[in-house]
Amino acid sequence: MTSTARILAMAKMVWVEIFRKKDFYVAFILVGVVLVYAANLRFYNIQGISRYLMDLGLALIFFSASLLTILLAARQYPNELRDRTLQVLLSKPVSRFEFVIAKFLGSLAAGLTCFILFILVFLFIVLSRAGSISWVTAFQTVYLFALNLAVLAAMTSAFSYFFTLGANVTTTFILYLTINLYGGSLGTAAAGLKGPAFIAAHVAYWVIPHFEFFDARQRFVHQWPALSAPLVFEVTLYAFLYTAFFILLGWSLLRRRKV
């Protein structure tokens, strides 16, 4: 069995896990119910209002897909430890690097599958209401969020070799939300600070993965022009570097662990 085959086999097991748990089905039903309800709202008897639906739908889908990815990636290593299957896995010809890569790839694939299923429901409902959308911007929105899931899955995976399950989920989720909300304005806020706060804010500004780069919802909802190809490439490179960094961090943390 080649290294790739071993990684894919382990990743497939992670991918299957998301459909064995109830989390995905609960999120899927919730997204569907909220979207159908929101699509049936009428405002002052005026037809063709759709942006609020896109805004709400994408926010809900981004949130649900991120949460499912965090929960899945965070529980991989702790569960292997708890079930005492880690020793069995690593006693076979599976290197620690392959283990880290497989857990990351499985979590990412599961998160992407959930995201794509949510998006299909979203597109079906939005197209029945709005009639037409910009497909280029829609594709860019989906692509950039897929990059977001890659960085998020790698980050959660890396943290799982250091934190306990609960601490990892809480830390990652708070960090993710905070960066999404304030990551962009941190640089401006840092400029107004002094002393150690100035240094701490600047270090944080440069070190954190800027998840807000991967959020093109506004562009899609408000029909702005599509992003240029070089800019999409830059963001892809940014996501690739952060993903690689977190995978290597996870590997380095696992190497120090005694199994």
Binding site: F43, Y44, I49, W206
Partner: protein, 265 residues
């Protein structure tokens, strides 16, 4: 089996107890318990969420950008597409000045977001309505929000009844607001229901006495009151109101000349 019976007894007992407990709480408060479903659902955060809806409507009007643009006049609000020439400042320049040349993180963020100051085209302004509907339902105390919602409903869709409904609800929630009375008066005035507009302007004029309003603004309302009275066959009162309006204006002002012409006619 016994355990299940006891579980049911406890559950039903607790459910029945909830009714007298809720009654006691209501009696303690000293007035009738709130029945508004939105209040029951959201509690005191209702108004905060309502204000967020108005801010969201403002962001939608500016192409989704949640930023603080300077206050705009009705004429400026009516302009569509990219607004480049009427601002004292250039938004792009702001963004560039804020970022130093080595701040590639900020630069990438700016390139990913739209920083142009745009106004929603008329055909797309219906997209603001969900936020006005929610905002006015959640926070009837936000007078600016109510007036803005009514303004756009009438301006783009001639939904006078819906706009009046919003303002009437606002009047009940803000009995001291002259702005809402003026808004109601304007709606009736535009529909040529002069008797009703006169009554609303009279209400606005009375309430204005308790607040500080600029003389030209006060004169404008007196002028509309006078015009409404004139059209509803009450000339003596109309002349009195015209004269009050004149007393608040400078002779160089356009409205002054307009009123003088009316008085002569």
């Amino acid at each position: 089996m016994k355990l299940r019976v006891w579980l049911c007894v406890c559950w039903i007992g607790a459910a029945f107890l909830a009714v007298p407990i809720a009654g006691s709480f209501a009696a303690d408060i000293g007035h009738r318990a709130p029945t508004d479903p939105l209040y029951l659902l959201l509690g005191s955060s209702k108004e905060g969420i309502g204000d967020l809806m108005f801010l969201k409507a403002d962001a939608y009007f500016h192409g989704g950008i949640e930023d603080t643009f300077p206050e705009e006049t009705a004429e400026q609000l009516g302009r569509e597409g990219v607004i480049e020439d009427h601002h004292d400042h250039d938004h792009d320049a702001h963004a560039k000045n804020r970022l130093s040349h080595w701040d590639w993180v900020g630069s990438m963020g700016e390139r990913l977001k739209n920083v142009e100051h745009i106004h929603l085209a008329a055909k797309n302004r219906k997209e603001l309505l969900p936020f006005f509907a929610l905002g006015t339902a959640l926070d009837p105390h936000n007078i600016d929000g109510l007036l803005t919602a009514a303004y756009w409903l009438v301006r783009d869709y001639e939904k006078y009844d819906d706009a009046l409904q919003i303002l009437e609800k606002g009047r009940r929630a803000n009995p001291r607001s002259w702005e809402i009375d003026e808004g109601i008066g304007q709606l009736y005035y535009r529909q040529k229901q002069f008797r009703r507009s006169a009554n609303a302007f009279i209400g606005a004029v009375h309430k204005m006495k308790r607040s500080t309003v600029d003389p030209p603004r006060r004169a404008e309302i007196y002028y509309l009151l006078a015009d409404s009275l004139d059209h509803s066959q009450r000339p003596a009162k109309a002349v009195k109101a015209y004269r009050r309006a004149l007393s608040m204006l400078q002779p160089s002002m356009a409205l002054y000349t307009k009123i003088q012409k009316r008085l002569k006619a």
